[in-house]
């Protein structure tokens, strides 16, 4: 796949269709891949990379990049295309300045899962036929790709590209038997006390680094309410449990109905807080109360919080979780 992508990038750069390529750039240890804008063929040949660790969703970079001079080529995985569509729906990116190539994805690896297996001192990883051979200073290790697949990929909602100018590989299909609400349901089945304990245990680790907000393709406000000194909520540090709750509830609410469930928030959290469980709760509630809705699936669709029905459920009736 990488070869094909590189080839297309060079062709499109060469014939002047685009003047920049937004992709992933190789790092020091295979897994530490950085999103990058390549401006020349040399840079592409030198640094361009696509492997199982290219999990970063590139669509948010287009908010800035699509406002620059000339057309940019972007590679989008299926789940990234949902964010891409959503950004188009919100008029945050300029579609005409983008050449989007959809690339197949069979699930991305999570280096944290390698670490969790006690694999450390990594000097290289070979990926072949669903098996990773990890070379480390302590000897080689072999793991199956699915063993270290990111959680968000294990509950992938769709392998379908919903927006592209060109495809490398198949268009893919929506995953029918997706189990992404399992954990939400499990939490809903708990008692309020248990849920409270669960969330305190998770959110109390928050260090308010804002990585979840800054990576989120739905968080594209010019100035976040939490950065507004006049809002009275701009404390940067996790001062106490209220601050942590407040930040995460409000952030999840601001993206409710717009979150495509790309899972970037949980991926980047340095404290491994399962933030996607907040977003998924909203998605599940929207589905239950207002009918199935997948943000980003159709850029023409009205967002669930931007419309209403006269016979909508009453807040008091929305049982939601069981007591």
């Amino acid at each position: 796949m990488q070869k094909m992508m590189e080839k297309r990038a060079l062709e499109l750069l060469g014939d002047g269709t685009v003047n920049r390529v937004l992709g992933w750039s190789a790092g020091d240890f295979i897994y530490d891949v950085t999103p990058a804008v390549f401006k020349t063929a040399e840079e592409v040949q030198d640094k361009f990379l696509y492997n199982d660790f290219c999990g970063a969703n590139l669509s948010k970079y287009l908010v800035k990049e699509s406002r620059k001079e000339g057309k940019i080529l972007v590679f989008l995985k299926p789940c990234d295309t949902y964010s891409f569509n959503q950004l188009i729906a919100e008029h945050r990116i300029i579609r005409e300045n983008i050449y989007a190539i959809g690339v197949e994805c069979f699930g991305k690896a999570d280096e944290e899962k390698l670490r969790a297996k006690g694999i450390t001192g990594i000097t290289g990883i070979e990926m072949k036929d669903g098996t990773y051979t990890v070379h480390t200073v302590y000897g080689d290790e072999t793991v199956k790709a699915y063993e270290v697949m990111a959680d968000r990929c294990l509950s992938c909602k769709s392998k379908k590209h919903v927006a592209y100018d060109e495809l490398l590989g198949s268009e893919g299909e929506v995953v029918e038997d997706c189990n992404r609400f399992d954990m939400v349901e499990k939490l809903e089945a708990m008692t309020p006390d248990e849920r409270y304990e669960f969330w305190r245990g998770e959110l109390s680790r928050c260090i308010r680094c804002n990585a979840c907000r800054n990576i989120c393709p739905a968080c594209t406000c010019e100035q976040c309410v939490f950065d507004n000194p006049n809002s009275g909520v701009s404390q940067k540090a996790a001062v106490n449990s209220f601050e942590e709750n407040m930040f995460h509830i409000i952030r999840a609410f601001h993206v409710a109905g717009r979150c495509t469930d790309c899972g970037e928030c949980s991926r980047v959290c340095p404290q491994h807080i399962p933030l996607h469980l907040l977003n998924r709760k909203f998605i599940k509630d929207v589905n239950t109360f207002y009918g199935e809705y997948q943000a980003g699936e159709n850029p023409e669709a009205k967002p669930p919080l931007g419309k209403y029905e006269k016979n909508d459920i009453e807040p008091g009736e929305a049982g939601g979780a069981k007591a």
Binding site: N240, I249, D285, L305
Partner: protein
Amino acid sequence: MQDVKEFRPKIVAFCCNWCSYAGADLAGSARLSYPADVKIIRVPCSCRVNPMFILRAFQRGADGVIMAGCHPGDCHYTSGNYFARRRMTLLFSMLDYLGIERERTRVEWISAAEGAKFSKTMNEFVDTITALGENKRLEDLRCKK
């Protein structure tokens, strides 16, 4: 130090200017009582209530928050309360999901003619919150005396 005090809940009620606030007025002029623990904040429309308002009320010491607006279909601005309804449905469901007692938040539709309903609702809500006790799960310790 033992300090036994009767628990008096603090309630914040966001009332829409056109219906519920007028309803509160009517309750007053009809001498229908509602507990003094309820502090009313008048808003132009229930739709003005931002989820942040609700959380801030809890932060500042509220033990229960109620939002009251025009009956669906009667919004002074045509549709504000419909949007508010969706928002509060989701927000309250989220608070519940985080383990914050469901009963601490409530939405009621109270028209300008429903002074009695206003009084009844507030009395009920205060009773519910009194039974629940102090808000511990969404408190900001810094704001406690």
